[in-house]
Every structure is written in C-alpha cells, then in structure tokens.
Amino acid sequence: MPQLGESVVEGTVSKWLKNEGDVIKEYDPIMEVATDKVTTEVTASASGTLLKILIGEGITVAAGTLLGWIGQQGEVLADSGEAVSHAVAHTPTSNVQLPTSNFKLQTSKELGFISPVVAKLAAEHKVDLAQINGTGINGRITKKDVLAFVESNQDKAKVEELAPWERPGDGDLFRPPELQMMQTQLQTSNFKSQIPAQSVQPPQPPRAPAPQPLAGDTTMPLSQMRKSIAEHMVRSKHTSPHVTTVFEVDMSKVTAHREANKAMFARDGVNLTFTAYLIAAIVPALKAYPMANSVFAGDSLLLKRDINIGMAVSLGDDGLIVPVIKRADEKSLLAIVRDVNDLASRARSKQLKPDETQGGTFTLTNHGISGSLFATPIINQPQCGILGAGAIQKRVVVINDAIAIRPMMYLSFAFDHRVLDGATADYFVAKIKEVLEGWN
Amino acid sequence: MELSNELMLEMYYAMLRSRRLDERAWVLHRQGKIVFHISGMGHEASQVGAAFALQVGKDWLSPYYRDLALMLCFGFTPREFMLSLYGKQGEVSSGARQMPSHFGLRRANVISTGAPVATQIPHAAGIGLGMKLRGADSVVLTCIGEGSTSQGEWYEGLNWAAVHKLPVICIVQNNQYAISVPAHLQMAIANVADRAAAFGMPGVVVDGNDVLAMYHAVKEAVDRARKGDGPTLIESKTYRPVPHSSDDDDRSYRTREEVEQWKKRDPILRFKNHLEEKKILATKINEDYESKIRAEVDDAQKFAEAAPYPTIEWAMGPVYATEAYHA
C-alpha cells in the first residue's frame, strides 16, 4: 500500500483491475487505491504474473502493507502469503518512496518520556496524551495519570471505533483546523506557535436520528470520498461563519482575448479555458488583500506566503476533488493553463499525485460550467474564502446610460466572517473584477 | 582358600570378555564409528579379582571410568556398553547424556559417576555411613586411579571412612600414569597404600595383574568391613598398556619398549598360562570362549548401531526428581 500523502497512513483497496493469474507488464495499472484525499491508480512495478492478491477490495490497510505478489508463473511464494500490516516497510508493489520513520503522533506539546505501559494504555483507551498533565518527574505522564484521565472521561461520549472513511482524514481537504495549523506551522518556520494546548474543537451538532427506508426506497451506500466530503462540509459550516457577496463581471475582454489566443495556445498543446483566466485574476487580488489568503488561528491570522489556488473538479457521482495550482503568483497565463489542463484531466482519470491536492490557500469553484448563475459555496477548510464563478451569459446591461449586450458572469465569494469583514471581502472581489474587465 | 576350577574359569572368562569388548571399542573408534573410548585394558585382573570377592546386589559400587571389567561382573552387558559408545537411546548409565564409561547401574547398586575425579570417594564414604546407620552388612567398593589420589576428595572421603569405621574398600588401581604424568611426579612415596596409616586404616599393596592375589586381598577387606571393622585401602599395582583414552597419544611420554615389556606381563595372558599349566583351561575351551565372546560383541555392536538416538525432549529433562529411594 503506497503512502498517498505526507501524513496519510493508510489506504483502501477500491478496485483490483487485474485478477490472480493475469499476466502483467510493468507500468500496467493493476489496482485503484483510495484515501479520503485521493483515489489513485497503482501501476505494476514489474512485469510478470499476478501470483497472489492478499488484500481484497474494500479493505483498508496501513501504508506499507503487502497487497500482493507479482512473480513468475509457478513460483512458490517465500512466506505463506499472509498479509502483514506494517507502518513502514518496503513492499514489492510499492512505487512510492516511504518515509523511514514510523508515524508520529502529532501533538501540540512536548510529551516527555512515555513509558511502555503509558503507551499501551493510551492506545487501549484511545487517549490523546497531549490532553493529560503529567505528574511524574520532569512532568512525564505516568500510568496513574492516564488511568485517572480515563476515569474522569468515562461520562463523555466514547469515541466509537470508526471505519477509516468515517474518520476525518488529515489531507488539506479534510484535516481539522487544529491539525492543519500544525501542518502550516511546519511550513512557515518563522511563525511562532500561539496555539493553545487544548485543541480547538468545533461544536458538535446534535445528531439527527437515522432515516428509516420505506418500501420501494433504495439504499445507496456512500463511497468513502462522498462520506469524507459530507463530513468536511458539515464541519466547514460549523467552523466558519459563512457570508456570500456577489459581484457581476463583464467578461467581454476576457472572451475576446480567449478568441484571439485559443488557436495559438492549442498549437502549444493547451486548451485555453476561462478557469485559467479566473485563477490568473485571483492572484493579484490575493496579493492586494493578503488577508483573503490566510488561515484563522484562534487569536491570530496566519497569512500564507504562497498563493496556491485550488480548483474544484467534479468527478460526477464519485464526488469532487480540488487539485491545487501551486505558486500561481509565479506563473504566466500559459503556465496556469497548462496546470489547469493537466490537473483537471488527471483528476478525472484518478491519476493525481497526493501532494497535488495539498497546500491550497484559496479555492475557485467554477460552478458555472453546469449552468449555475450564482451560488453560496462552502469554504474549503482551513482557507478563509472560496470564489464561485457562475455561467457566462449574454445579458442586457446599461453602459453610459445606453443598453448593451455583454457576456456577464456572477462571482459569488463566500468568506469566513471571522477573518474578513464585508468591506474587505468586497474590495477583494472588486479587484478580481477589475483585472478580468481590464484584460488585454 | 583355594578357589574351585569353575570359579577360576569364570574369572578367566570375565577378564577375556572385558578385554575383547574393550578391543572392539578401540577398533570402532579408529574406524570413526564412535567418538570416544577410555579403556580398562590391563586392569582386568584388578577388577575381576575384586568383583568376585563381593556380593552383587548386596554390595554397592562407586566406580571410576576404567572399571569396565568390574561393571561387567556386576551385570552390565556388552549391549549396554555399546549403547553408551554410540550415544543411543536407552543407554543405562545416563540415557546417553554422558560420555561413555561414566558408569552407573541402578539395578546393581552402582551409583552414577561423572568426570571430576575422586568425587566418588566421599560418595563411597557416605554410602558406607548409610549402611552403618541402617545396620546393613553390605560393603561399598570404590576404585580410583593413583593420579586422582592427589585430590583433596580422596583424603577427605577416606578420612571420614576411617574416623567412623565405615565399610568402605578403596582400591587404587595404580597403572603408573595419570594421562602422561608418571607416578613419581604424583607422589613422593613409593606406594599409595603407605598413606593408609596416616588415615588410620590398613593398607595393602597387591600385584594387580594377579587376579587371584587381588581376589584374596579384597576378600579379606570385605570380610573385615562386613564385621564392622572399618575400611581398607588396597593398592593394585598394574599398568596401562594403551593411551589414557582414544584422544591421547602416548608416544610423547613413554617408549614403545616399556609398553612391550608390560604387555608380556598382561594379566589375562598370565592367568591363561596359569590355568593351562594347571590343566584347567583346554585349548578347546578357550576357543569356545573366544567365539562365544566374539558373537556377543558382534551382537552388541549391531544392536547399538540399530538403536535409535534419544529425542530432543529427553535432552530437556526432567531436571528435578519427584521421588527418591528410601533406605
């Protein structure tokens, strides 16, 4: 099982594309593997016969787990072929570089020495050691401390053993805010942590009773990605107070530019899309209003240095995914277009690399593709704003007191009102509008 | 007391049997079939003479590693000896946990012996103490080489035997070499038996290659001990015509001439001549003995070769006894 992302520790075998006994060539896709971040095809790292499949479809295993064997027909496998789960290992099928250290529990404070029994009890009772005050020497957490903590928490709702797709992941799309802050803390090394020891827990909504199916109803099981999306959306709404502000943009200059340059771009092998212009226009606006490129950190804002713009790509029934154009501010329109083409197509063919959905600081959702005029999108946590672009429609507008027909587009900017006020948000969108309307 | 012809022929047979079995062991070792043999060749008269003065089943033995002839007289069989050479399952002294010639035979009251020399002497004194405390009229015979009499164990055991007048007969089989160390480097006296006075017990020097002389000396000591008159130290003067063990090369410490000289005084040859002179041993009888013994030795070898090895479970234990014999 490859490690599909820096902090991802497990994945699910969604689909075997080959069967036991099939002859395989190196680089043939042989399976699809999914995490809550991304679904990826895994290709064969060698030619031969798929001798044995160890992990079946739908099963989630730790990164590094042996999934199967490719060898010569009739070869006897060295071991009994039992699946052994490792946090780190080298596996015959992995073509992803695995880290050399075990997954470390990321916590927000120095825990000190953890004795064997403390580690065991913490694992057994699913205790976050960061929440315990140690009374041992040098403040270490003792066995008694753990047991006392467990006892005092007995009234609180127990964390049930959730299936991996029911647990929040820690990719950008789905990482809870407090852990995202850890990730970003690593990225901006000169930023001193002012994160409180207690992690900020979003308030939990009261659970509605599960709906009962009536005769004739069909139960359609949700995919893991769909479940992750659902969970993230709820959490996003409960984290950020969403306000949407809508602007109208005259896209005639952009349209003209596009008409004029489409063919030339096509010769370079790229498809010049409106999405590219939008991304290119967001860049100067984020530069002018860096607060829109920030992360809420409790008692401060983390202003991101990089401008990494994610673009939401629909995967139809399977859900949606948000590949990120990294350092968009350093890219020409051509470069952005290439990125857009490449990422969008690989997103749809499930060939995104794990890091390509990470690190975004702002998101564009081109909901107009499907005909929507304006919308109230949900912020992609832990960002503070998401720009929705509606359908470009020729409309009657008034210019210099005269009636004109122009290709118009609504920009719906949903923002986190903890970070931005209406005024700043509006200035930000106005800037985008300015760039698009002034394109040449 | 004169011994009957039958008895003397039995003695002769016993010596011959031990010798032929012993020789076969050397052959097997040089053939690479067994890994170790420590011989009793040359000692047959010392041991057979002593054995015939004891009562098997009543008297106890605390032997040492050259006592093959003595053991055979106490009921140890060639098959059992061969099992020990080959290290096979069912080996009676140790279950093949020990090297060959670490004798022990429960059914004949022969206690188990190990390798550290002279430890059997205090054991013999302890057995004698038990016999005395329980009022048995048994005796215990213990044997040792002259080299091992330098060990403190020998002194302390015999000291006890003398102090408490225990029914112990200690035969020092002086074959003149302790591996390569000659007797004169082992002690400053000419006879080990001279030390008996220091303990306060009788000491007797005997021609160990004269089976009848040995018989009479041991018989006298046994009678004394049974009466409650205490221990006796008997020194049998003999010779070791072979190296210390299959691992020893005696060419480095003595001449072939010396060995040849002593071979002429071989105890079995000597007794054979004696019996033939007395017309007790006819050639035919001797031939019969030889072929009977030969058949027995061949059978013993085949038997041991066919026997299985002990199991790994047997190596593991048991280490602790759950019961012990009660006097």
Partner: protein, 327 residues
C-alpha cells in the same frame, strides 16, 4: 499461636523431621554436643544420639560429599556448613555432583539432601562471616535454593526441603536468627518450595526481596505508607525454581519494580529477576526496573560504620521506594 525466633523454628523443623523419618540425620562441624555454633541443633544430640547427629571433620567438601553418598544410599542427610562463606570447598560436590546427578544418570539416581548454611552480614562478621552466596547456586539447574525470611516460613520450608527428593541449598539469614521473631502454627505443616509470597499488598510499586532484606522491606513499606505510597512486597522465598508468575503478576499490576538484596549488586540474583520483568512485563512498565544491592566490593567490611555503609537498611530501602514511586 506460639511465637519464636528464626533459629528456634529451624531447630523445631529438624527435630520433627528426625522424629518422623529414621533416615534423616544431621552432619556438620560442631552439630553434636555443641549444638551448632548458632545453636541450630541444640538439644538434638541429647535427644537422638551420635548416630543421628554426627560431628564431621573440618572439611566442607566431605560434609557435602558424604551427604551425597548417603542420599544416594537412601538416607536423608541434613548437612550443615558452618558459614556460607566456607561452602566453596564443597562447590565441586554441590554443583558437579549433587546438582547434576539426577539428570546425568538419566533419572536413576536422585539426591535427597539439604545443605543448610547461615548467610548474610550485619553481624560484625567481616569478609568471611557475612557473605551472600545464593547467586552462585541459583544459577545451576538441578539444585533448589531456598531462603526463608521469618520463623513460620523457615520451619515449613525446611521440612519441605528435607522431604524434597532433590538437593536443596537452604540459606538462613543469620542476622535474623534471634532478631526475627514470629508466630509459628502449632501442629504439622509444611510450606511448599517454589511459590513466592505476597506478604504485603499494594498498588504503587512492587518490591521483591528475601532473607532479612524482606523483613526490612516490610518495615520500609510501613514507614512510607504514611506518605501515601502503597507498596506491594513479595517475599521470594525460593530462588530456584523461581516463581515467575507471582513476580510478574505483581509488577503488571503496579508497573514499577524494585528488587532488594544484600548481595553485591553486580551479578546478584536481582539481575535475573530484573531481566525476567523487563522481558516479560515490558509493556506494563511505568518506570525502569531497579535493584538495591550492596556495593561491588569484595566483602562486608568489619569496622562498624563501614559495615553500615555496606548493608542495605530500612532507610535506604525506603528512599529507593520513594524515588521509584515518584518516577
């Protein structure tokens, strides 16, 4: 229930066993009319006579060697070594013969004997009347090693040792001979060799000890109980075979282990117990496994303050317990 000292309990045990089984006898230096230098056998010579209580020559090797021989004969000897410091001449007999006899004879020859010796310091005995020797013997499979800490256990365990078909090294904490008093049940009873005893239940740390150190550990545990520290104390009692189950159950409960002995720290038996705990209770450990032993010098110094510095005592043990509890 009558109260008596450790030495009285031991004497009672021997008295009762001598009465119960005719094959039991005692031998050692000064055990007869003198009644033993510590009076362990006082009055027994008068009661049972010279055939049961036998003064031995001044030769520890032979005390044990004769004992082994007698045990092989079916007697039940109790061999006293006057001070454990002087047991070493008998080392060969104990380890090479006594311990290995049953295994090496394929289970044919058991050695049902007891070797008793006073051990331990704090009595102004200097280097040669204060030694702890248990770790040498607990190393050899085939022996049993028993160390009682109180009169009730001493009597019950010594009786079991006499009846055990294996050689038992029975070490008695001499400082506790008259110092440790306790209640001893009336009537016939034995305490089995093997099981350790949880003498004090607790939850914060497990303390393992034997001999007089166990006595001190109980005192130290009482002392720091008032500080809110709950100490569980285990009296090991039998070092070989070791009761791993009781030892591990305790540390799995408390998470912290301290082993206390008056032997030198390095190579002391605490190391073996610590290794077992670290190996088999690793995931239950909340602190490093600690040992409190004596300094690694070649013996207990004579001069009073030097001896006090050497010996573990209640204060030192309490300090070690506190440190571990606070870890």
């Amino acid at each position: 229930m009558p109260e008596m000292t450790l030495i009285e309990a031991l004497r009672q045990a021997m008295d009762e066993e001598l009465a119960r089984d005719e094959c039991v006898f005692i031998t050692g230096e000064d055990v007869g009319p003198r009644g033993g230098v510590f009076r362990a056998t006082q009055g027994l010579f008068e009661k049972y006579g010279a055939k049961r209580i036998i003064d031995s020559p001044l030769a520890e090797l032979s005390i044990v060697g004769i004992g082994i021989g007698a045990a092989l004969y079916g007697m039940r000897p109790i061999c006293e070594i006057q001070f454990a410091d002087f047991i070493f001449p008998a080392f060969n007999q104990i380890l090479n013969e006594g311990a290995r006899m049953f295994y090496r004879s394929g289970g044919e020859w058991a050695v049902p004997m007891v070797i008793r010796a006073p051990y331990g310091g704090g009595v102004g005995g200097g280097l040669y009347h204060s030694q702890s020797v248990e770790s040498f013997f607990a190393h050899i499979p085939g022996l049993k090693v028993v160390i009682p800490s109180n009169p009730k256990d001493a009597k019950g365990l010594l009786k079991s040792a006499v009846r055990d078909p294996n050689p038992v090294i029975f070490l008695e904490p001499k400082k506790g001979y008259r110092l440790i008093k306790g209640q001893v049940p009336e009537g016939e009873y034995t305490i089995p060799i093997g099981p350790a005893n949880v003498s004090r239940e607790g939850s914060d740390l497990s303390v393992y000890a034997y001999g007089i150190m166990h006595h001190y550990c109980l005192q130290a545990a009482e002392k720091i109980a008032s500080e809110g520290i709950s100490v569980e104390v285990i009296d090991i009692r039998t070092l070989l075979p070791l009761d791993k189950t009781t030892i591990l159950n305790s540390v799995k409960k408390t998470g912290k282990a301290l082993i206390v002995h008056e032997d030198n720290l390095t190579g002391g038996y605490g190391g073996e117990i610590a290794a077992i705990i670290a190996d088999e209770a690793f995931t239950d450990l909340d602190a490093p496994v600690r040992r409190l032993g004596a300094p690694d010098i070649p013996g207990v110094p004579f001069s009073h303050p030097l001896q006090d510095w050497f010996m573990p005592n209640v204060e030192k043990i309490a300090t070690a317990m506190r440190e571990l509890a606070n870890y």
